[in-house]
Each structure stands twice: as C-alpha cells, then as structure tokens.
C-alpha cells in the first residue's frame, strides 16, 4: 500500500509548487500588467533560442539515449564562428545596406547550420560510434570529455574574450501599446524559429529519413532488420541537431555575447528544458524551453519575490531536480518502466 501512496503525495506536492507559481504569475499580471507583458515577450524570445538547443538534446537522446554533453559547446563554437563571419568575413555593421545585411545574415545562417551539423556529426563519428556496444556509462563519460575538447577548440581559436556582433536587426519597436513594447530583434528571433520548427516537424513526420529516425528511436534492432541503415540515421540525427544549434547560435548572437564557455551553461539550461518537456519528445522540448525562458525572464524581472539573475542558475537546476523527483517522464513524456 505504501508504494501506491507515495507517488500520490509526491504529485500533490509537485502540483502545489506549480499552483504557487501560477498564483504568483496571476498576482503579477493584476498588479503590474505592463511589466508582465514585457517580461512575457522577453521570455518568449529567450525560450525560442533555448528551444532550438533543447531540440538537439532531445533528438539525440531520443535515438541514442545519450545526454550529448558536447551539444552546448558545439552551439558556442558555432556562435563564435558565426560572429567572426559577420564581423570579419562579411564586414556587416549597422551602416551596411539592407540588402547586404539580409544576404550576409542569410549566408551566416547557412554556414552556421552546415558548420554546426558537421561538427556534431563528426563528434558522433569519432567518439560515440566506436562505443555503440560499450556500456552507457562509457558513452556518457566520453560525451563529457568531448564537451571539454570542443570547449578548448573554441578557446584555442577564439581566446577568452566575449564576441559580439553589431545590432544588424534594429532594436527599435515593432509596436508599443501602453508601456508594452516589442522590438524587431525579438520578433526576428521568433520569425526565424517558428518556420524552423515547422520544417523540423515536416522532416521528422513526413520524410523517409524522419520515419527511419522514429523507427530507430523506437527499436534500433527491429529497424535494422527492416533495412534501415541505423548508423546513417544516427548521423542524420546529429546533423539535424547540429544544424538547429547553428541557427540557435546565430539568433543568440543577435541579442547576447558568446564566449568559449557560453555553451556549457546554456547547454545545461536547454537540457533542463528538454527534460522538463519530456526528453525524446519534440513538442515537449519546445514547451519546456518556452517555460524555462519564461521562468528565467520572470525571475530576473522587477517582481516581488523574484530572486534576480544571481539565482537564475540555481532556480533552473532546482526545477530540473524537482521535475526529476515529481515527474521524471516530463510534462509530455510517457511513463517508462524504469521510472525516468
């Protein structure tokens, strides 16, 4: 009987936390609607970037059951490459003509995607593929090692300084209703992310390779028997994850600076998002990323009881731990026999 009772108690406590958070949000909405909507839009922007990285974690986890620790560092390396493309190769700044900016950014996106995809797939080819029959612990530890290697590659080529790009997308407002304003930069992030997600959905749901991916994720052995080239499918998954990280990195650059170790923390946040949504579930990753983006934005916003940016990291990891304790399968995940 005790066994049945415990999860119930746990979920009540978990729901209690969620209820408290919603009450807090509601209070802020009534008390300070202007800031509420402003912060909401910031959270939406941040969440979109997180979503692109979180999808990479979730895709790889879905197919290999591997937490690809190196993913965040691939993101950072791609961001650094993109920053040097924009600043040095294309020489873009605020004064460049609109055509130049559109063309340059488009090319940067394309190169960043190809670069991220190549690096990610190379990591799989070099490090993970040889360990396909090794214990999971070995692969996981290798992933940690690869993360350090990629981080040090960034360090070797780009040194310890933060890289930023001039604000190519104007910072001016798209609209302003009362005190609520929405900048072009934020809109740009969402405008890029949304179609990418639609294309990703189409890729996974409707193409032959996507079907192979889903089949391999379900049962690699049976898929191999059915004639799916499992290794190629896994490589494709890493390519896809790397390309998404590439897009995410360029979008990140629009608003933030990148350094060799940016990817570590961002990767952890994105991974938290993927777990929150239910790892292995694509919609879950996006939902989780939006929630984490919101949590971060609201925590750093001017609200009572918000703990400010000093504590954001603790808060995000606190959520991660809470999720794993209260609902290990995540918001949209399915309960598995192993419990997580």
């Amino acid at each position: 009987m005790r066994r049945r009772k415990r999860p119930a108690v746990l979920s009540v406590v978990g729901l209690g936390f969620v209820a408290l958070f919603i009450v807090w949000l509601g209070y802020n909405l009534v008390n300070d609607p202007t800031n509420f909507f402003n912060i909401f839009l910031i959270g939406l922007t941040q969440g979109s970037v997180y979503a692109l990285v979180a999808l990479g974690y979730t895709l790889v986890y879905g197919i290999l059951q591997l937490i690809n620790f190196a993913h965040g560092d691939v993101f950072a390396l791609t961001g650094l490459v993109a920053s040097s493309l924009i600043v040095s190769t294309f020489n873009l700044d605020e004064t460049s003509s609109a055509l130049m900016i559109v063309g340059g950014l488009g090319a940067t996106f394309l190169i960043a995607m190809v670069f991220g995809a190549t690096v990610n797939a190379t990591i799989e080819l070099v490090a993970y593929r040889r360990l396909r029959n090794a214990p999971r612990l070995a692969v996981l530890i290798t992933a940690v090692g690869m993360s350090f290697i990629v981080q040090n590659i960034s360090l070797a080529f780009f040194d310890v300084n933060f890289r930023s790009v001039p604000s190519l997308v104007p910072d001016s407002d798209v609209f302003r209703i009362g005190g609520v304003h929405y900048s072009w930069q934020a809109l740009f992030v969402v405008l890029v992310t949304a179609p990418v997600l639609v294309i990703l959905r189409w890729l996974v749901q409707h193409t032959r390779q996507g079907k192979a991916m889903r089949a391999t994720a379900q049962d690699p052995e049976a898929s191999a028997m059915m004639g799916i080239n499992v290794n190629r499918t896994i490589s494709f998954t890493f390519l896809l994850a790397g390309a998404l990280a590439g897009i995410g990195a360029v979008l990140f650059l629009v608003e933030f600076n990148v350094r060799y170790d940016t990817g570590f923390e961002l990767g952890l946040i994105a991974f938290t998002a993927a777990v929150l949504g239910g790892i292995g579930n694509l919609y879950g990753a996006v939902l989780g990323a939006l929630i984490i983006g919101m949590v971060q934005a609201f925590n750093e916003g001017p609200f009572p009881l918000a703990t400010k940016s000093d504590w954001t990291r603790s808060l995000v990891f606190g959520i991660l731990i809470a999720i794993l304790v209260f609902r290990p399968e995540g918001l949209l995940g399915e309960r598995t026999p192993e419990g997580a």
């Binding site: 591997l66 040889r130 799916i228």
Partner: protein
C-alpha cells in the same frame, strides 16, 4: 632440487620461460615466494608509504629546474594539495567505482566540507564567541572556533548527511539522469555560497570573498610542552611538512577504510549493484539504502578532504568549486580504473600533480627545450581539453583503466554487466559493419 623447482613454479605463476628460470629475476622471485604472506602483501605498500612520508627530507636533494619533461619536483605545499585531491578521488571511487553511480557533482561535497570548516573554525560569525579546543588564536577572538580535528569529523558527517539528502530524491532515477541531477547540485551549491552573503541581511558565506582566515590544526600548548607535538601548524617553522604528513595520514586512513569497506557486506552489495542491479535487488539487497550509503560515504571523505584543504589554505572561496573539479576528479577515477583503489590513488596523484603544477612545468620544459622561441605553447591553458582527450582515449581504448580492479576488468571484458549504466545503447554486434542495415530492398522498407 625438486622443491626449488616448485617454488619457481609458484613464483612466476605459469608464465614460465627458460629466460626467467635462468635469470637473476627468478632467484629474486623465488626468494620473494618464501616470505610469509603478510609481508608479501604489505611490504610494497609500506615501502611506497615510506618513500612518500620521507619526501620532505630528500626533496631538497632532488634536482630542481630543467629536469627532463617534468621540469621540477613538486614543492611540499603542492604535495599537500595533491594528497588532498587524491583523497577526494578515492572517496569518489566509492560512488562511481564501487556502486557504479555516475556523480558529476562531487565538487558539492568538497564545497560543503570546506564551508563547514569555514563556519566552525573562523571569525565568520562575529555575533557569537565560542571556543572549543581551538589553537593558534587569541582568547578574545570572536566567531566560532572549534578544534580542526573535531571540525574535520563534523564536516565529514555533515557532508555525509548532505550526500544522503542529495541522494534520496535522485537515486531512484536511472543512471544518466542521476548524473545530470548531481551535476545540478554541483552547480547550485557553488552559486549558493557565492550569493549567500545577504540572506535577509544575514551574511552566511561572505559572498565572493569567501571565508578567511580559517584556523589551523594543532595540538595546543599543553600537548606541545608535554610531548612536543606542534601547538599550531601555521605557527611552526615547518608548517608545510606538518600539513603534508597529516594529509598523508588522511589519505592512508581513507584508503584503509575503502579497502575494508570493499570487502565488507556493504561493499559486496555495492559491487553486486554495479554488476547487475536487478539481480542484486532480487537477491534481497535493499537497493535504495545501499546506494544511499555509497553516496553518504563518498560524501563523507569528500567533506573531510574539503575541510582539511580549507584549513590548509586558511580559507574557503567560491571560485574553488567549479564543475571542472568534478570532472577532474572523475577523470582520476576513470584513468586509474573504476573501483581499483591503488589505480585511483596513483591516477589521483599524477593528475593532481598535473593540475597543481605539472602541466605548467611540462609546458615550461617543452618551451625551453623543444619549441623554438617563436612557437611557444601554453599547456596549462588547455588543461581541461587535455583531460577531455584523456577521458575519450581511455574510454575508447582502455575502459577498464590503467590498473584495473580484477573484477571490474572481467565485467568489461565479458560484457556481462547489467548495472545501472551497463547495458549497451544498442545490442547489435553487427550494426557497425558496412552494409549491415542495407540488406532490404527499397520496396521492403516500412512506410508510415
């Protein structure tokens, strides 16, 4: 004569060759075999210990500066740090090596230990004045000052309790989730100590400045005048040596405990869980309790080591506790061989030496002797990249570690493990052969 041949057979254990039989090595081996078993078991360890314990005495006679590759031998101060980090690695080995639980946040235990020492043996809490067996401070010093020896124990116990608290919610999760949750704790605790300088106006950790100074160990004036034990390490002229010998003692104690634990009922339960969690559960091993014990005991040693190094550095600073330290300790366990105490000890000493001064020294030597003035390299800058390469290479080519534990080696070679993290991702022996998945014609591929 036949007796002698028997002895020879026993000594070289089946690897008999004519060469060995005729060489002096054979005579040494046969002499070795006549010694009683306890001597054979313990003398190498005792010899190593003697070499280590007398290190401060002959260090001055060793060549320093431009020794090939290593440039110079570590100073006594570095040696203390090396020993303390090795102690932590041996503690982590209980969690990762014995029980097979991947812990990526061991630095949290280090931090808890160091800060417990900071709270209980410094002037951090100016509001109170409490002295208990403390040495080397004036009588009217404010704050809590408890004897460091007691603080080591208290810190270890508190950290062990912390290990249980971290373990309870997370240990029922599958291995890789456990890794990420421990990583989360390893990130939260340093951020906590960095930010907890004004919790509703209360200064708990003194923020980024850390807690300093922390009291030094010692035996007090009574024992000093009676038997000549040092009154307070920090005030002795050979303070570093005293710290060195104490650190060596702590390491020895940890190694001793870990060996005894490994052969105990609890230790065998850990290894059973590592090998096959389901079978272990079916045999009646309480999984949660056993895993929690592994966590608590691993944390215990981490906490003691953390408290000791805080006392040695006379301070605990938040910048000491980064994720890198967790990976660095994990690296020692992997390099030495998971579960192998001696392997972990040796890998711990080598890697901590690399970390403390080795990489910088090697870099200096390479720059002085190999690389031309125009192409100097910064080895120390890429130290974690180097560890990353080490980890990946070890996992690919020698997953059992440099000095593998016999049982763990068998597990890896036979692939029979079913522990929390032992099942391979894909059990398809033929999957990486070329063309393995391409046998079916396109028409037979699944649709939908």
């Amino acid at each position: 004569m036949p007796r002698r041949r028997d002895r020879a057979r026993a000594s070289v254990r089946g690897h008999r060759t004519r060469l060995v039989q005729q060489s002096g090595l054979h005579r040494v081996g046969s002499f070795w075999a006549t010694l009683p078993k306890p001597v054979r078991t313990f003398s190498p360890a005792i010899a190593l210990l003697a070499i280590a314990a007398t290190y401060p005495f002959y260090l001055a006679n060793l060549p320093s500066g431009n020794v090939p590759l290593i440039y110079s031998f570590p100073s006594i101060r570095s040696a203390v740090t090396i020993l303390v980090f090795t102690t932590m690695a041996v503690g982590l080995n209980v969690v990762v090596g014995y029980c097979g639980l991947l812990d990526l946040g061991y630095v949290a235990f280090y931090a808890i230990g160091a800060y417990t020492a900071g709270w209980l043996a410094s002037g951090q809490f100016q509001q109170v004045k409490f002295h208990f067996g403390s040495v080397g401070i004036t009588h009217d010093a404010r704050g809590i000052h408890i004897s460091i020896w007691l603080v080591l124990l208290i810190a270890a116990l508190i950290t062990g309790l912390g290990g249980i608290l971290i373990g309870l919610p997370t240990l029922r999760l599958r291995g890789d989730y456990l890794a990420i949750v421990t990583l989360g704790f390893g990130e939260i605790i340093p951020q906590f100590v960095r930010n907890a300088d004004s919790l509703h106006g209360f200064d708990l950790t003194h923020g980024t400045f850390g807690i300093s100074p922390i009291d030094s160990p010692g035996f007090g004036n009574t024992l000093h005048t009676a038997v000549g034990l040092p009154a307070s390490y920090q005030q002795e002229f050979n303070a570093d040596r005293l710290f060195f010998w104490t650190a060596l003692g702590i390491l020895m104690f940890t190694i001793f405990c870990c060996i005894r634990l490994r052969d105990s009922r609890l230790g065998r339960a850990w290894i059973a869980i590592r090998e096959d969690e389901t079978a272990a559960g079916a045999m009646g091993i309480p999984l949660m309790r056993t895993k929690t014990w592994a966590y608590a005991i691993g944390a215990f040693f981490g906490g003691a080591a953390g408290a000791y190094i805080a006392s040695f550095n006379a301070g605990a600073f938040p910048s000491q506790f980064s994720f890198n330290i967790s990976v660095f300790l994990l690296c020692m366990v992997i390099l030495g061989g998971m579960g192998s105490i001696w392997g972990v000890t040796i890998a711990g000493i080598i890697l901590s030496w690399l970390n403390v001064e080795g990489l910088a020294n090697i870099g200096t030597w390479l720059n002085d002797n190999i690389f031309p003035q125009s192409h100097q390299i910064e080895v120390a800058k890429y130290q974690f990249g180097i560890y990353g390469v080490l980890i990946v290479l070890m996992m690919m080519f020698r997953p059992q570690g440099l000095i593998p534990e016999a049982r763990r080696k068998r597990e890896i070679e036979e692939g029979g493990g079913h522990g929390p993290l032992d099942d391979p991702i894909y059990e398809m022996r033929g999957a990486d052969e070329p063309g393995a998945g391409e046998r079916g014609s396109p028409g037979r591929q699944p649709h939908g």
